[in-house]
Amino acid sequence: MMWSWIPGNWSLIWHLTWENAKLGVLPALYGLVLSLPLGVIAARWRWFYPPVLTVINILYAVPSLALFIALIPAFGLTDTTVIIALTVFSLCVILPNVVAGLRAVPAPVRQAATAMGYGQLRRLVTVELPLAVPLIIAGLRVGVVSGISLASVGQLIGVSSLGYLFIDGLQRSFPTEIYVGLVLVIALALVCDLILVAVRRVLTPWTAGPRESRRARAGRLVKVAG
């Protein structure tokens, strides 16, 4: 480990980290934007989902490198190629969670909203989607974390990301560079993951609830038993 390498290459490291963040986070957000309408359709019209799920399973099996390559003739060796490919992957992990989240909304809740005079759209936006948020964010977390990690593979087709530090480090037999890349990719992914956990807490304050102490729980159980 050669610590002095880090300050000397500060601007390169910063640039690559920013590129990697962009290549990892944007596709997850695009994937979310595409998943929401598709998920709503799939949750409502059940016949729509099984074929979609099959397509998703197959798409998810496509290696990222292969998908990058398939997109090269159309988009060249650019950010766009990597972003489109990773958007496909994030769609594959987010969409099933949107569908599961919407389907898990209890029927009585839905009926209560209808009984209160909510139209379909209002019920969807103010009742069903909020209740599906925990599952949707769980999918988004997988999408962001694996996106940031996969973005580094884009370096193999020449799209710059923290993967540059891996390739360059290998070619120069210089492990410091690889350590820095590894730590930054993992740190970037974990920071984004924590942000999403925080977003979920803010969006679904009801899931936190007051923590029940062990004593209170024991007391409640005794009461129920008695």
Binding site: N57, I58, Y60, A61, V62, P63, S64, L65, A66, L67, I69, A70, L71, I72, P73, A74, R141, V142, V145, S146, I148, S149, L150, S152, V153, Q155, L156, I157, L162, G163, L165, F166, I167, G169, L170, S173, F174, P175, I178, Y179, G181, L182, V185, I186, L188, A189, L190, D193
Partner: protein
């Protein structure tokens, strides 16, 4: 020319099917390089996952978070780091692929075993089964569909990522892609990518069959009537 034209032309060129490093040889090599890490990961992750799921409680909840964080480890980074220190040894390509394959198997096994109906657990204990028998003969078989989903995800990750391992000298289908990229020949790059996709889809189909075979007959009937 589009991706498929390139890929098709290359795959249907007779010369690519014969001799040293031909398509059939690399397909077999790719399968071998994928099967070994998957097997090692399964041998580690299924018992550990089953133990965590059997105990239940906080550990079972934490395991999905850990599995998600684990995904952030970039395979390319781990691969290049090991290559710098060990050169091209079996450990260099095995370890990153095992690391990649563990989280889906671990998380799904833990989740599946933790989700076994408590009544079934009680019954198993009631007929005098030891803890070991309960886990091995009741809980794991019931969790088998979920465990297989985890294995399938891992298998697809490994088949896809073994391609990247060609960058540090591993054989298999990645050779066509990496060598093609190096020599600016899009034919083998596209053809290699197409073959990996075909292989991944075959793995998917294989697991569909395996799921049917390994799901206990009783559960299979239940699934049909539900």
């Amino acid at each position: 020319m589009s991706f498929f034209n390139w890929a098709w032309d290359w795959v249907t060129t007779d010369a690519n099917w014969h001799g040293e490093d031909s398509i059939p040889q690399q397909v077999l090599a790719h399968l071998g390089y994928s099967a070994l890490p998957l097997l090692i990961a399964a041998v580690i992750a299924i018992p550990v996952g089953a133990a965590i799921g059997h105990r239940g409680g906080k550990a079972a909840v934490a395991v999905s978070n850990i599995a998600n964080a684990w995904r952030s480890i970039p395979t390319l980074g781990l691969l290049t780091l090991l290559a710098v220190f060990l050169g091209f040894s079996p450990l260099t390509w095995l370890l990153p692929l095992v690391v990649l394959a563990i989280p889906p198997i671990l998380a799904n096994t833990a989740e599946g075993v933790a989700g076994v109906d408590p009544g079934v657990r009680d019954a198993a204990a009631g007929v005098g089964m030891t803890t070991w028998q309960q886990v091995a003969r009741v809980e794991v078989p019931i969790a088998m569909p979920l465990i297989l989903v985890g294995l399938r995800t891992s298998a697809i990750f490994v088949v896809a990522t073994a391609t990247i391992a060609a960058y540090i000298g591993l054989g298999g289908l990645g050779r066509f892609i990496i060598d093609g990229l190096d020599s600016n020949q899009y034919g083998p790059v596209a053809g290699g990518a197409l073959l990996v996709v075909v292989l991944a889809v075959i793995v998917l189909a294989l697991f569909a069959g395996l799921t049917w075979l390994l799901t206990p007959a009783g559960l299979r009937k239940q699934a049909k009537t539900e």
